[in-house]
């Protein structure tokens, strides 16, 4: 029988996930509120009716005759079914990287989004969601070990699933710090420093950027982006941008600017040679359908052989492609579903973020940068010495202990900053703020109560 020694060392090396839910929970409260991951439906946000109605009809075409469903729903479903082989969502999608019509719609959407910068259907590859497609892409970069191991510049803090993914693909994580005091800004000098530091122990070949930031919610400043691009260009870095939170930009006077757009404005030399891959996902798009597992990537200036490989290897499920199609081509003002669709769309990220940030900044021992985008808030928590000591004794990280106690005593599940790569003594927690406002109030109240009790222990 195989023993642990026989297990692939790379698999053995994956850091085990922090498993908070596994804890048995005493219950002085009615229910556990889990906001540790960006799952809007779990947090109580309703799915968008239009999307669900169309998908239901696609699944069970008999519903095309169902008069109680709006006409535009039925017409749209018919159009979508016509795109599917055998008129069924149960078929594989074609081998060209996705349903051709969906690739076209997405490229048109991107062109509109980027103010006319052209996007080509053959550069769009439909995927089964961010995690898998990122893993497939990064795998192509992997090579070498020790000093020749490929490295990826990674923001610190970074999305909580990224460190495990890098472990798995055998890539070295080269952290570049985001500056909390400056609203989590990307700093050019820091990028230089990180790159030099990285080159000592590995070969950095790519830079991973979250735009908007995950979990920090910042928007990279365009000015920095241009000079940063210079750096990437000179060092031959592939730019990998995780733009899955692009739909949730809410800061005042802010709008989402894609890295592709920035690249296009930098002149031919860059625009036609720099390698850029950007990712989007339906999990975090305004439609929030994480359970469907779908997304796309747009590949710019990537080697044709690599592109061919990526299209062959992706086998995106049909339904999420249809959901994507619907999200980039929503109902128009003259359609019957328009009103209900836009109502839900305008929901409260911005209000929640503002409210939560103000609230937490007033809690003693907590501080929070304003968030301008995304699903998360990433407040800093000042942990009293007794917690840090107890954590040492129990051999867990201090922020993990904090989260465990929070779950046990208040029934709130948040994410520990160490999962986001936060290795220093600046402890943070991560919470998804895309919840109904009443739920948010509940979360904030319980969090404050817990934190006060913790600090009181000192007295």
């Amino acid at each position: 029988m195989s023993t642990v020694q026989d297990v692939n060392p790379r698999v053995r090396g994956i850091r085990a996930p922090v498993n908070l839910q596994g804890l048995s929970v005493k219950k002085p409260f009615k229910s556990v509120i889990d906001v540790s991951s960006g799952d809007p439906h779990k947090a109580g946000m309703p799915p968008i009716s239009f999307i669900r109605q169309v998908m239901a009809v696609c699944l069970y075409p008999e519903l095309l005759k169902e008069k109680s469903l709006p006409l535009d729903v039925r017409q749209r479903a018919q159009k979508l079914l016509d795109m599917c082989s055998g008129g069924s969502v149960g078929s594989y999608s074609t081998t060209s990287g996705g349903l051709p019509q969906v690739q076209k719609s997405i490229s048109e959407f991107i062109t509109r989004r980027d103010g006319g910068v052209p996007s080509h259907p053959e550069d769009i590859i439909l995927t089964t969601g961010l995690q898998k497609s990122l893993s497939v892409f990064l795998n192509l970069l992997t090579s070498g070990e020790g000093k020749t191991q490929t490295g990826v510049l990674t923001p610190m803090p970074c999305p909580h699933t990224l460190p495990m993914l890098l472990d798995m693909t055998g890539l070295a994580l080269v952290p570049y710090r985001l500056f909390e005091e400056q609203g989590w800004a990307v700093n050019l000098d820091e990028l230089h420093r990180a790159l030099e530091a990285g080159r000592v122990h590995c070969e950095p070949k790519a830079i991973y950027i979250s735009n908007p930031g995950k979990p920090t919610g910042e928007q990279p400043i365009v000015g920095t982006s241009c000079t940063a691009f210079d750096l990437f260009y000179i060092r031959g870095l592939i730019v990998v941008t995780d733009e899955v939170h692009q739909d949730s930009v809410y800061g005042q006077d802010k709008e989402f600017i894609s890295y592709k757009k920035v690249l296009s404005e930098m002149g031919k030399m860059y625009a036609e040679t720099m390698e850029l891959v950007s990712f989007h996902s339906i999990s975090t798009a305004h439609i929030g359908e994480g359970g469907l597992r779908g997304g796309y990537m747009e590949v710019i200036n990537i080697d044709p052989a690599v592109k061919k490989y990526l299209t062959v290897i992706s086998s995106a499920s049909v339904l999420p492609q249809l959901a994507l199609e619907l999200s980039v081509n929503p109902p128009r003002p003259e359609d019957s579903s328009y009103n209900s669709y836009t109502q839900v769309r305008g929901l409260s990220y911005g209000n929640n973020a503002k409210r939560a940030c103000e609230f937490l900044n007033r809690v003693e021992g907590m501080s929070c940068q304003p968030s301008m985008a995304g699903l998360f808030l990433y407040p800093r928590v000042h942990l009293p010495p007794h917690i840090v000591e107890e954590a040492k004794r129990l051999e867990v990280k201090a922020d993990v202990l904090y989260c465990q106690r929070l779950l046990r005593e208040e029934g709130i599940c948040v994410g520990a900053g160490c999962e986001n790569g936060q290795e220093d003594k600046n402890y943070h927690i991560r919470l998804c703020i895309l919840t109904p406002p009443s739920t948010l109030e509940e979360i904030l109240a319980r969090l404050r109560s817990f934190h006060h009790r913790l600090l009181e222990k000192l007295a």
Binding site: M1, S2, T3, V4, V7, N8, R10, V11, R12, I14, A16, P17, S37, D39, H41, K42, A43, P47, R52, Q53, A56, L59, Y60, P61, E62, E66, S85, G86, S88, V89, G90, S91, Y92, T94, T95, S96, P100, G129, L130, Q131, K132, N139, E145, T161, M168, G170, G288, G290, G291, L292, R293, A305, K308, Y309, T311, V312, S315, S317, V318, L319
Partner: protein, 450 residues
């Protein structure tokens, strides 16, 4: 044998897509549509989805349908149950990474029933978006890229290409064992022995990959054959990876699907407690045919708990499988029972599909064997025919001049001139000097056969 071919795969598929596009745009060709018999895609071939499954899924996607009197009561109740297990009551939420616990439990019950009562443990089952994903994860655990000698995995020839791609991508060596075409593509232990021997000095074989029923070769292993393979795996300390996706597609007379798990258990000690086994199944084939929904599972047997821990971490780092796919998987393993309102229709639809498949396969076999230059053994199971092409030396020469494999050349001509899209044998592996094509048999009678 495989490495450089990775990027050549799909050349025919892209051409087929191009032709389909041209036809849609009105370009004239000697045929009106491309008959696509390349993939094992039942819905594309014209098979209809099961009504019960689609009704439940639709109600799960749009819950107000649960109140619709147009849907049968059991459909509505079932949808309610399934949604009750989804986080936030929505199929749009993430589920636990290994899969929704109640569905995993349901799968373990299904396996137990199928295997005559032999227990199946939920903690040994993982759901993933399709069997290839699970196969890839398990291979990831077994293959050490940096090992010297390199890790080897024995694979059948012919074999469907995705698994082989996964193996080589991970840095392992695919060690071929040839199925015996003359004996209807039977798996012979002597050949396994030879293959294993051939690996000496080249790599260190750690696993044996078996497809039963076969793909693309349509054989179904007998009980005797299964036992022989298990014994061989035990002797050589090989991890058994068994792809049982086509377990519902068995049509040969006197043929029966024998599950490796059952056979292993019934062999008793020392085999039953030591041979490591991973068996794979999915909703893509069989009567569900829902390959677009992406859901499959793996059941692991006899693994060291410490190793299972790592497997658990590996599966946990993936985000969960599509929730709708998991529900479809549940419906496949826990279908309507006699007495349920949907039972009769469900049974009828399954019977219909089975009849058509059996008939298709017989027809394809007859037709293919009657064509000059073709020969094909009886197809006992699976969804494909893998007939042998007896090409003239002239044709082979022509192909070589064009820089193509002879069977690719044939398939290309078949596509361009006849509008039929099939798979060339070299993509699946074949004995040197022989040529084959792979053809999805289910299409034959679901649509009009040319």
């Amino acid at each position: 044998m495989w490495n450089m071919k990775q990027l050549e795969y799909g050349a025919l598929a892209r051409r087929a897509n191009q032709i389909k596009k041209e036809l849609r745009q009105g370009v004239r060709r000697p045929y009106k549509e491309v008959i696509d018999v390349f993939q094992g895609d039942l819905h594309r071939a014209g098979m209809k989805p099961l009504t019960f499954v689609r009704q439940v899924l639709a109600a799960c996607v749009y819950p107000p349908l649960i109140n619709s009197s147009n849907l049968p009561l059991d459909v509505r109740q079932r949808a309610q149950e399934e949604l009750g297990r989804c986080v936030g009551g929505s199929v749009g939420s993430y589920s636990a990474a290994p899969g929704i616990p109640e569905i995993i439990h349901s799968i373990s019950e299904f396996i137990k029933r199928r295997d005559g009562g032999i227990p199946s443990h939920p903690e040994n089952i993982y759901i993933s978006p399709g069997s290839q994903w699970s196969i890839s994860n398990i291979l990831n655990v077994l293959v050490n890229r940096e090992a010297s000698p390199r890790t080897g995995v024995l694979i059948p020839v012919p074999c469907h290409n995705k698994t082989v791609l996964s193996i080589t991508q991970l840095g392992a060596v695919a060690v071929p064992y040839y199925l015996s075409e003359e004996q209807g593509w039977a798996l012979q232990v002597e050949e396994l022995q030879r293959a294993h021997e051939s690996a000496k000095g080249v790599c260190n074989p750690v696993a044996l990959y078996v497809i039963n029923p076969g793909n693309p070769a349509g054989y179904v292993q007998s009980q005797k054959s299964v036992l022989e393979v298990i014994r061989f795996a035990w002797e050589k300390r090989l991890f058994l990876l068994v792809d049982e996706l086509y377990q519902d597609c068995v049509y040969g007379e006197n043929c029966e699907f024998v599950s490796y798990k059952r056979a292993l258990s019934e062999m008793g000690p020392p085999f039953s407690g030591t041979v490591e086994l991973a068996s794979f199944h999915s909703v893509s084939k069989g009567f569900s045919g829902e390959c677009g929904l992406r859901a499959g599972y793996v059941e692991l047997v006899n693994l060291d708990p410490a190793v299972m821990k790592h497997i658990h971490t590996l599966f946990s780092k993936d985000a969960c499988s599509p929730v709708l796919g998991q529900i479809a998987l549940n419906l496949m393993t826990d279908p309507p029972k006699p007495g349920d309102p949907s039972y009769l229709l469900y049974k009828q639809e399954i019977e219909q599909i089975r009849t058509v498949l059996v008939h298709s396969v017989k027809k394809v076999h007859e037709v293919v064997n009657s064509l000059p230059g073709f020969s094909c053994p009886p197809i006992e199971g699976g969804l494909f025919a893998f007939p042998r092409l007896h090409l003239t030396p002239k044709a082979i020469q022509k192909a070589k001049e064009l820089g193509l494999q002879p069977d690719t050349f044939y398939c290309t001509r078949l596509l361009e001139e006849g509008g039929v899209f099939t798979g060339p044998g070299w993509e699946y592996g074949q004995k040197e000097g022989t040529y084959h094509i792979r053809y999805n048999t289910s299409r034959a009678l679901f649509k009009v056969h040319h």
